[in-house]
Subunit: 357 residues, 3 copies
């Protein structure tokens, strides 16, 4: 973290610059105000930057002790009307995104200390950029290439002929297996396994014959892969994760899946083999996408939903069974197994009514 | 394991002592009977201690070859009425809990052999208690503190400034990342990852901007964390697991979640960010708790249930879709998509009947 | 991979031999045709072997540029009728199984380079076959036995007294804990944890008392265990995975479960403690099998299904809630909580109709 923090004028200039002018903000109050920490409105103290992105939290903003608050124009107007003595406000049309950039500036990722630690295992035929860091207990296989400023954390594994793009970070105990390729500025969290064999077997006389999984995994730039998430290599051809995809923890991506750019998945999602998921999709926690399906761009799947056929139209799709107090659930659920009969009974009532009416 | 086992009198005295008199038991039969193993009633042999906690298994108790059986008063009476020649009985009001304590005495955790193994990587600035064991391939970061009698198994990772409380055990390949704090007498199983980044991104123009996750994970005393379970660090502020919580394998706990004391979760549960789960709750296998919800104390969630709003009243809640033979399922499930219309049709039938009646 | 590939006559002879004559194939076209790669019909080039196992893809076969195509007799007839200039055909009654064998011949698993790498940690009391390979950072505990031609990948852990059967492969960072036994020709993928403690606690006065988990895990021959899958050791007695079982990634198998021979489970399945699953079953992605249940042989469970009671008859069982466009879902799902009342209303309509009719 920047030791003494940054002033609001430094922050606004830096965020404006790194977004190419997209996020230009105005400061109401003293631009010399320094912030060093981050906190939600209710917990923020005199050094903390906070934000207001939802009008529901305006009361919290009015009583917040934050050093400064990032707000949108409408919230600015509402706050100013209510109270004159406010902390300095940073006004910008996308306050949450501005806050994210400011937070990165206040909490930059740790510098990568170049060098190969004692106790790291780097094959003779691997190429490691001199600016990269390979920590103790990490392993880099033959023919692998490790780009500039890459961090390979303690105990992480990079397989033979794997490529790790510049500025990517492999956290302790993450695994990138042979021949897989990770783009630039990616983050792979601890316990993630990229490139294990896909689940491919041919049945014969009640036994399973393994089909060698000879493809790899290709991950684009700016991808984040959560802890203990697994992405299988392709059977023939590659499993593909496009640029900007964000995968939470404990996700399973089957062989030959394609995940389109800037799609985000919450924890514990399962995507079966050969599914093709579009760009800019969001998949809720523990949703399941069955194999060989296609999801269009901008499809949003709710948590706990099983997607069992292709979705060709953008929109939000849900299949969550509603929970209930256990006794009510049991009574109502018993009827689920009679629904077809119930429908038939209603049809007959209608038919007889019509006949008799 | 105690080589020759223990006598029933030794066991009853020891369990009574370690529970402060809470579990005082009476032996029917010879208190000198020695037991060394543990087995269920049907499989127990002449050295094994077994237990009867459910009246349904009384026939198994009557024919068991166990060295001794732990029973409650009602089961004792029922057994004695049926058969005179029984194995010795240990009679106590909580036979399963007594059995658990006796099992711990018969199978104590392996002694921790103090010392830092060759091939362990301990940073110069780490403080390791001389009674702790750091196995080969394990890694302890700068500023970390490892308490008395802690076991850090082969290949486990303790990040910078992390704290591991006395008598805790980190199994091989478990990971506790920077700044996280584990209490006393905790068990972290292999592959668990504590303190990976939470899943926090601000959307801007179809892209995701990472919000640095600057909180940590704080785990209380006597917590057990299953294999490959993940607990994310907080965005701002900490993720908190209170004393006595038991988490099974493959669980995902999102950032800033709070899990109340003595709550237990079965395998594959997903808890989304900022959920607040009460004390003494139980969460069934593969249940999903959505984000920013609150669950009161003593809430019990059935397996496979998605909790999509807060539960403020203790009780049991379920949302499991009933399975069926595939053909019946298909027929009944087709009606689910017509339920609103079906309800409307019934309403109309009722209305016309009333008008005509 | 075989550098220049293999000819069709070499392949047909080799597959026939390794299947004891079960898969005898006929070549239509030149048996001297060489293949070196594998590809689906639409992507195959002049060196690639491809296959047609589903009549739906006949048009792709007709336009494929593959070096050769494996087909069944019916598809051969259909293709030949449509077009005279086809690539060579390998005709066999089980084309997908033949393709799997041929693929193994074209892409044999890498040879195991015998020896214990520098930086591997092998306990003095472990027995490692001289033909086995223990890679750097791997760990083998006291009393463990490593069979002939076993591969223990970088950072993998074999606990004390564990047995690894001949020709098995433990991928990087997989964990087989103390006393567990793995059969011959098994594959354990990265991040899998075999033998963590089962989830066993006795409640007492609102707290949980751990029950030592003193059983182990016993895995048969020809078993494949996916990345980050967990199999818990038994409480008393063992957890058993029989021969030929195939487990995909992120599966959780609880203590004392038995999985029958040649059963296959897709990703993210959860099997709770003491469930007994038959032989030749298939369990779909993210299905949940509750504890202490029995599934007969040849039971097939669909993805996303929660099995809450025993299934004693072979067949296919499903309990997937149908997904829908979110608005329709919300309308229909609201009725689920009124189903018992709806049924009652229909009953009353019928009763009154009967009375009045």
């Amino acid at each position: 973290m920047a030791a003494d923090g940054l002033s609001l004028s430094e922050l606004t200039a830096a965020v404006e610059q790194r977004t190419g002018g997209r996020l230009a903000a105005t400061v109401i109050g003293s631009p010399a105000t320094r912030v060093s920490g981050l906190a939600p409105l209710a917990k923020a103290g005199a050094q903390d930057l906070s934000f207001l992105a939802n009008p529901r939290y305006r009361p919290q903003a009015l009583s917040s002790r934050a050093a400064a608050i990032v707000v949108g124009p409408a919230d600015r107007d509402a706050l100013i009307t209510k109270k004159s003595a406010l902390p300095p406000l940073v006004v910008v049309d996308q306050p949450y995104a501005w806050f994210a950039h400011a937070a990165q500036l206040l909490h930059p990722a740790a510098e990568v200390a170049p060098g190969i630690a004692i106790g790291a295992h780097v094959a003779a035929g691997a190429r490691v950029d001199p600016s990269a860091c390979i920590e103790s207990g990490a392993s880099v296989g033959d023919g692998a290439e490790i780009g500039a400023r890459v961090w390979v954390g303690t105990g992480a594994v990079v397989g033979a002929r794997a490529l790790i793009g510049v500025d990517s970070r492999l956290y302790p105990r993450s695994v990138v297996l042979d021949d897989c390729r990770i783009g630039a500025r990616c983050i792979v969290h601890s316990g993630a396994v990229i490139g294990a064999d896909g689940f491919g077997f041919a049945p014969l006389d009640g036994r399973w014959i393994k089909i060698p999984q000879v493809g790899a995994v290709v991950v684009g730039d700016d991808v984040e892969i959560g802890a203990n998430t697994t992405i299988d290599r392709g059977t023939m051809g590659d499993t593909v994760i496009e640029d900007g995809v964000k995968l939470d923890n404990q996700i399973q991506i089957g062989h030959n899946v394609k995940v389109g750019a800037h799609t985000a998945m919450a924890g514990c999602v399962a995507v079966a083999g050969s599914a093709r998921i579009g760009r800019h999709c969001t998949i809720g926690a523990a949703a399941v996408i069955l194999g060989h399906l296609e999801l269009a761009d901008h499809v949003h799947v709710s948590a706990g939903t099983v997607i069992s056929r292709s979705i060709l139209t953008a929109g939000t799709y849900t299949g969550m069974f509603p929970f209930d107090e256990n006794r009510s659930w049991a009574k109502n659920t018993a009827v689920v197994r009679q629904l077809a009969r119930l429908l038939e009974r209603v049809r007959k009532l209608e038919a007889r009514e019509k006949k008799n009416g």
